[in-house]
Amino acid sequence: MRHFIAGLTALLIALPLCAAVDTNSPAPDFTLNAQSGKPVGLTQFKGQVVMLNFWASWCGPCRQEMPLLDSIYKKYGKLGFTMIGVNVEPDSKAANDWLKQTPVTFPILYDTDSKVSKLYGVSGMPSTVIVDRKGTVRMIHRGYKPGDEEEYLSSIRTLMRE
C-alpha cells in the first residue's frame, strides 16, 4: 500500500513537468521565412488571435486538417485572427509540391532547422497552439481527428471576444 501511494504521488508530481510550452504562459517569439522568402515574426501579430499549426506533408492527419484550417482562416481572417502554418520539414520541396495541389490562403512559414518546433516542444503531429491578443498561449492541441475543428472554433470565438 505504501509503495502504491508513493508511486502515485511521484506520478502526480512528475506530470506537470512534462509540458514544454504551457497554457497561460507567454508564447515564445520566433522569426521564420514565409513563402515569399521574407522573414515573418510572431510579434507582428500581437493584438490578433493567432493559431499556430505545426504540419508536414508526410503526415496524413496534417494533410487532412489543412482544408479545414483554411476555411477557419477564410471566415475569421479579417476579424482580428490569423492562422499560421508552420511547416516542419527540413526540405520544403515536398511541402510546396503538396501546396500546389492543395493550396491554402493562410501564411505558411518554414521551420527548416526545427528551431521553432523545439521551442514550442512539439510533441505530436500535427500540433496546434492558440495564442491570445496579448501573446499568451491559451490552448495546445496534439494530433487531429475529424471534429477537432469544433474545439478550435470555440476557443477562437472566446478569445476574439476578449
Binding site: V122, S123, M125
Partner: protein
C-alpha cells in the same frame, strides 16, 4: 506478491511514458523517413500474408513474422 509489486510499478511507469523522463530522441517532427511508405513494416499485407503461407506449407518453421509499429507516429 513480488510480481504484483513489479506489475504495479510498471503500471505506474506506463502513463509517464507519455511524457517520459526518457525524452524521445526522434521527435515527432523528425519522422519524415519513418512515415515513408517504403519504411512501412508491412507495405502490402495481402502479399506478405500469401508468401508466408507459401513458405509455411513447405517448411517446418512457423511464426514470429508479424509486426506493428513505426510509421509517422501521428495523433
Amino acid at each position: 506478491m513480488r510480481l504484483v509489486r513489479v506489475l504495479i510499478a510498471l503500471g505506474l511507469l506506463y502513463p509517464l511514458a507519455g511524457c517520459a523522463p526518457i525524452e524521445p530522441w526522434v521527435k515527432p517532427y523528425e519522422r519524415e523517413h519513418l512515415a515513408d511508405p517504403i519504411m512501412s513494416l508491412n507495405r502490402d499485407p495481402i502479399s506478405s500474408d500469401y508468401i508466408e503461407h507459401v513458405f509455411g506449407t513447405r517448411e517446418g518453421a512457423h511464426g514470429a513474422t508479424g509486426s506493428a509499429g513505426g510509421g509517422c507516429g501521428c495523433n
